[in-house]
Each structure stands twice: as C-alpha cells, then as structure tokens.
Amino acid sequence: MTATSTLYETRIKALRATKLEHTEEKLARYGSFDVDDHGYIPWTEPIAFEPVSSHPSGGCWGMKDIGESFRRWLEVHPVYIHPQSAIAGAWVYKGIPGVAGFELAEGMGAPDSPKEREARTLANYPRNWRPEDRPTHLYEKLVAYNTYSPGIGHPNHFGPDMTIGLSLGWGGLLEKVRRYRGLNSPAEGAADTTFYDGEENLILGMQAWIRRHVDHARAMARLEDDEATRENLETIAQINEHLVHGAPRTFREAIQFLGWFQCIDRMWALGGALGQIDELLRPWYEADTGSGRETDESIIWQLASLFFNDSHYSQIGGQGPDGRDLTSRMSFLVLEAMHRIRIPVNVALRVHDGMDRSLLRKALEFMAADGTGVDFALSGGLDEGFMRNGYPAGLARMRAKVGCNWTALPGTEYGSQDGTRLCLATPLLLAIDDALAADPPAPDVATMDALWQRYVHHLGLAVATVKAGKDIHMERQADNYPEIVLNLFCHGPIERGLDASAGGLDIIDLAFDGIGLATTADSFAAIEQRVTQEKKLSLAELRRHLEDDFESAEPVRLMLATVRRYGSGGSRADEWARRIAELWTSLVRDTPTERGHWTCMPGLFSHGATSGFGRLLGATPNGRRAGAPVSHSANPDPGFVPGGGVALTAKANAVASTQSHWGNTTPLQVEIDTGLMNGMGGTDAVADFIMAHNRQGGTLINMNIVRKEDVIEAHEDPASHPDLMIRVTGYSAYFSSLSREYRQPIVDRIIAGG
C-alpha cells in the first residue's frame, strides 16, 4: 500500500469511527429510530431561529413563508466539517423547526421514533399542511380501514436529475430562477411571483451557508497542526469558495455539490436520491484521473465522504436508453467505497439480463464480507411494467432507484411513492363481520363466496377513500408543502413556474402499496379449510376466538396457523394470494382518481410498517395474534414451507406470482446465511438466483447476508454488535438503532432461514 492510499484509508476509518459515535449519541438521545440512519449529526446547542408565519396559528406553510424561513434557517444553521472528509457540510435536525409541521422545540426526536409514532394520529393528518386544508372528512373511513398512511402531504417521493445542478451550480440555478421569473411574469407586480421568490430565497440561503463553511474551513486550517489535514481543510475552503456561485469543475467539486444537495434535500423533506450515480460522476472521474488530478484511491475516499454526509439513494449499473450496459469503472469504485466505509449506504445495483456479471459478483462478495450492501433493482419487472403504461423501452431503462422501494425517471416523473400504504387484512375482518350479520346467515357452503364478495366491497371502499385522498394531495400539496428543493433539479417546474406536484412534471403515476398479503391469503385459506371444508369450527366461533385473541385456545390458533401457507406452492393460500393481488392491482390501476383523473400505480410494499399496521389490527384467521406485525410486502411469512422451513426459490416464485406489473415494486426480502454464501459455489448460486428472479418479472430484491448467531445476539443486546448493518426493507440501518418491535420480524425471518 502506498503512503497516499494509507492516508485515504486512515481518513475513511476516521469517518467510520465518527459515524459510529454519532449513531451512539443519537441513540442515547432519541432512543431507537426505525428509518435509515441518515447522515444528520447530533446537535445539542440551541439554534436561534424563528420561522416566518402569515398563518393565524403561527405555522409556516406555502412557498412564500417557507422560502423565507428556509433562507433564515440556512443563515443560522450550524456549520460542520469533518477534518478527514473530502467535503464540508452536515445537517442537524430532521426538518426545519416550526416549518411545514415540524416541531419548533429544540431537541425534537427523529421521525419515526416511538415518540413520533405515538404522535402520529389522523387527528392532525397531514401535519405538514394547514389545519383548514386537512382532509378531515376522510378520517372516519381511513381509520375504519386501518389506513394511517394514505399518502396525503408526502413530499419528495420522486427523484431529481442532478445533471441540472451539476451543470449550473448554485449561481446558475439562481440565474435560471430569475430568468424564468422574468419570462413568466414580465410586468413587475402583475403576477404572483411567490413560487420564484421561494426558490430564490432557498438558493440565497444555500449560498450564505456555503460561504460560512469557507470561513469555517479556513479557521480550522489555521488551528490545525497536521500538515495533510491542514491542506485538506484549505482545499475544502477553496472548492467551496468557487461553489458559492460556480458550477463544479472537478470530481471533488461535484461530490461537494452533491453533498450540499443531500443536506438541504434531507433537512427539507427527509427524502433523498441522487440517481444513477456511476454515470452521473463518470465524466468527472475520467477527466480527473486522466489528467492525474485524482487516483482511484482518492476517488474512493471522496465517495466515502459523500456516503458519510448522507445515505441518499442512488443506483449503479443498468442500461442506457439504447440498451447498452452502463457498468463502468465508476460502478466498481462506488462498491469499493461502500465496502471501505462500511456504514449504512443506500445504493442499488440495477440488474438486467445482459448485465456485466462481474459487477454483480463483486457486489455479492462485498455483501458476504460486510453483511449488507447494495439492493437489487430488477429491470425485468420494472421496465416491462413501466412500458405497459405506454412508455417506450428507452424511457423505462432511464428510471433509477430513488428510494426505499421506488424507481422514477430522474427529474421527470412524479410518483409520490412509498407514502401510501393500505392494509389488505383489515377488509377481511370487516367481511367476516358482514357475513355473520347477514340475515339469514350465509350457509356454510357459500361462506367463501360471501366472504369474498364482502372483501371486494370493503377493499374497494378502502382504495376509493385513498384515491379521494390522492386528489386532495394533488390539489393542495403545492400550496402547503411545496417541492422547494427538488423543483430546482427537475425538468419543468422552474421553466413553468409550477411546483413538481402541481403541473411542473409531465409524468404522474401515483404509487399505491398494499401491505399484509400473506396475512390475508393465509387467513382466507385457513377459513376455507378449517371452517368450510373440515368444519372444525364455525365462522361465528372463529370470530369469537379472534375477538378473544385466541385466549385459552392455543390448539385452535395452531390449527389455523398450520394450514398450507402462501409460498409453499400450489396451495390454496397461494391461490388466494394471487386472487387478492389481482384484485388489488385492478382496484388501484383500472380507474383513475375521480377528480384529477390521476393514474395510480399498484405495488405490494410494507416498508418497515408491518409493526405499525399490525399494532392496529386485531387477531387474524391465520393464527396471528392481535397487535402482532402483519406480513412483509408480498413475502410469505417465515416458516411457510410445510415443516416450517423457508426456500428462497419458493419465496421468489411467490413474490413473482403476485407482482402488479405496472412499474411499481413488489420487493422480495431474503436473508442468507453467511456460511451458505461463503461455501463452495455460494456466490454464484446467489447471483444466479438474482438473475432468475429478474427473468421472472421480479422488481426488487432486498438481501442480507448474516450470521444468524450475530443477529440473535444483537437482538438480545444491541450494544453487543453496534456496527451490525441490516437491510430492513429497501434501506439499510444499524440493527442496534431499530426498536425491538422493528427488530423482531427481522429476527424471525433470519431464524426461519431466509
């Protein structure tokens, strides 16, 4: 190893150590947090800030107030430079205090912490909106259908095209905003310029914040004894001095620009994506390594610095619009940087039939060494699904994974994804109530038909309610919680003066995810077999056991739980799963929303919300107790193979059979034992497994490669494995940072073996 590469290695280690310290501090401060371990740094000092408000409640909503508040926030936001990082900047709070519903009080908890979840009720939903705009008339139905995540008011759930920012820089973006303000409102005072004023304020705030980092870097350099570190800080000052106005000229400046974007993107709306990161950075890489300015080692360090800055979503591999494979040296360096820094990073490897297998193999080798790594976005199902909407193959190939489960055309496609989840099991419990309330009661032979009809009725009503919410979202989002950050990095919003959610973007497909498929399918199968076929108990008796949460009825619960389950292949539960998935797809996709005529894109994805939905759901006929988590996305429940095992191929077949095929995802979650992966032929077998699921029309694979013993130990004592990383669903996190209830389903999956 050369002296230079030792220096970079040392720097990356220092970043990793700081990340672990930060996570420990955050845990001590906030308790657990069931989302990605974002790159924000724990901050304890008070920040003197007051948002602008023109609302009687004192809240801050709408572009005008938000733009001004954002600028003020950046003017007082702390500065942070890790002396061993290649770039400056970090954010300290999730959300801007007092703006768009975020708490004003200092020391607010991390979103999705238990405290936050407790506070999350429909009574003030969505909190990011003005009280008078909230859809109170929908609350009753949303509660009845256990739909506490109907996707109203969700920001940032699409992807930017970062080439816009990288080619213009902050100064260029400012000019663009001013130019279009002039074009779209030529007579001063003649039109509403609120939109542009807000964007302008954001950029001005950004420039001020960068300037303060220039000063801070110089001040740190003056006090720094170590020569190499001092030089590093001086370089940080120089590149940022340029970046206040200028567009990036070098790889490192491009990384720094992306770092700034990550900071404001997260502090605004907690979302975050960079797009096709290997292809985005490839021209800078080729230029700077070609000229001798950078080496692969320095590039790896700079990438690791970007990952330390934040765990934004990005993609490597995949295809260009013409079908050529996009794998480049940059793709491998991204993997290398992830491997070296070993902190939660959210990079997806896009898999397609003709891909460079050496990239897939390399990704798997690093996963075997690190426990987790990339996830696998599959063109097989994603492209084919998106094209069914009428889009050409070239466009489908250009979509990038930009979130936990979602994929979007960078800067062009508004999907509002990952915020809309609907519990598939709740309508079944309501259907059972209906069947028993029928007068005269449905005879046993007809029970399944009667139940299904009522199920269709209730699921239909639930979907219609959420669609009504989607219309409201599209009508009121821009005025409440505009896409002030992503508008700058999209094709259309600035040009038109319209928010991305309100006409700024051309492609709109509102994603809609079902949750708890296995819970529901296994429940239908259990009723069919034990109630209608074997007549072991009546439907009324079943409902009594459900109401009593199987109190003193363990044999009954086990009898229901041991019906052949979804995933075992060829079972009635598999049939029910397909039937439910088809119904879901049809209800979501066949009819657009009533007022806006927006198309909805169905998928089956639970994020980590299996516990949240489960907590609000009573006992179910598959033997699941009240309050226990519902099943994960479209994955069969652990132990689904007769005899209690798991077979990865069976699981993949099940998930493939329930895909919606419209361009949204229905991810496959797999846990693979380290021993199997490291054994003879393990890596090849897993690579072949991924390729086969791609061919099956799969859309996404989230994979962990873990030692079962480590996970069990870490579940009992999280402090025993502080750096154990787990892919929870579409995102990676430190296992120790998750709440016990979030950890439990992961442990169950791993114990069951897959």
Partner: protein, 306 residues
Amino acid sequence: MAETRGPVSGVVTDIQRFSIHDGPGIRTTVFVKGCPLRCFWCHNPEALAPQPQLQCFPDRCIGCGDCVDACPQGAHAMRDGAHRFDRSRCTGCGLCARTCYARALVMAGEVKSADEVVEEVLRDTAFYETSGGGVTISGGEPLQQPRFTRAVLAACREAGVHTAIETAGHVARDRLLAVLPVTDLVMMDIKTMDPELHRDATGVSHERILESARLVGESGTPLIIRTPVVPGVNDTVESIDAIAGFAAGLRSLVSYELLRFHMMAGSKYAALGMACPAAELTPPDDELMDRLTAAAARHAIAVTHT
C-alpha cells in the same frame, strides 16, 4: 418415458429447494427413504428405514391430548399433563401427526406420486435455467426405489431439467442400469477401500459399490466420487490416497470431493428414539482437509473439499 409416470410413487422424507451442495447450480433435492447402509455417522437417520416413521419433538408439545384420541394403537397417553409415547406400539400410520397442529409429532416419510414430486421440482425451472442446476434424488438410497427415481428423473429430463442422483452405490446392477439412461450426473460415495473397515463402518461390503462405480465410469455418465471424511474411518492420507487412486481410473470421472464430517443430526436421532453413535466425533480441521485434498490431487484428478 411417460409410461412410467402416474401410478408410480415413492416414500419421500423431504424435498429441499434452493439446494446448492447437491450438484451443479441451484437444485431441488428429493430425499427418498430407505438405505441399505448403516454408516454410524449418518446425518439423515430419518431416511434409513424404508417405511414412514413418527418423529417426536417434545419441546413443541402443547399438551392438547388430541394424539391420544387419534391413535388406534394406544401409543400416546397423557400423564400428569405430560405427553407419553410408547414407540413399540406405533405402526407409523400417521393419524396422530395429522391432528398435531403444534408439530410435536411429525411423520418422517410420506408416500408421494412421481407426478406430485415432478410438479414441485418444475416450480423452480427459472432458477435451474440461470444456474445450470436441476434435480437431484438423494436419500436414503435413490436406487432402493428405482422405478420412482427413474420416473421422476425421466419426467424432469423431458422438461429440459438437468438430472442427478446421489447414491451409495450398494445396489444391484440392473437397478443402476435402469436409472442411468435418464441421469445426467451421478454422485457416488466411497467411504474406504479397506473391505473390513467398510463392513464395520457401514454394515456392508464395498464390492458392490466399487462395481457400481466402474459401471457408471464405463457408461460415460459424468461421475463425481465423494468421500465423507470421518474421524477414525478415513481421515488419513493413506485412506484417501487409495480412494483417489481408484477414482482416477474411472473413465467418466468429473471430480473427487472430500466432504468434511459434521454432526448436525443430533435432534433427529432423538426424535426417532434412536441413539446417535457419532455424537462425540469432532469435525476434521482445515489443515487436515487441505492435506487430504493435496494427497488426492496427486492422482491428477480435480479435487475439492468442503
């Protein structure tokens, strides 16, 4: 080969999918029941006897007592709230297991038709295609049920799926000849070349096994010879050298594999009411496995070890 499908059935203990150590690629391994050998280190004790057997897992029992009512032989009883099982009365009918929702009573071995098994095997065709995998019939001894094994392999092959068997080779020549034409790969165990030791360790002579290996070698069907490296049986350079020397003379030999002994079947023995004779054995270490591999490789054959 379609004429052998339909009515043919076999006794199957397990169908394991995503199996990656039973031949090339991703495979489905069908474990059949019944084996003529009695290797004391066997890790599939549930596959030794040819007939279905009841396995008891007392820690899963919830004490519901349904098995007592279900058993026509009175093999089950509840005393002081605890389940008691008299294996001498059990006929292996499986009625109790059907009522045991807690899975404390589980049958080892189920009669399945070849069609049923083939249907399950073909569910993973997508994975065989990308990995070059397929189906493997293992056991037990697949050639103890030659009609069933042939029927399953023939149908899989007809569907374009790669076929393999894992056999101990202690079978009549005609049984092997019946299955070879529908088999793409034979994996055969040779435990030791020492006749007396072989009889002591496995309960049978090795003559028939060596004869089977020669027959496969001559047939041209690709052959992998494997040796489970078991302490006290064959964990010496001399022992492995002798087997490798024999293997090197087999015309269709693809490779020789040394499989490190692991005792992973402790709970299975207890569930069947059997003693586990190899419970105290220690797996060979890496250094020994490397040394044995090097010794075998001197015969100019491809050698791997686990």
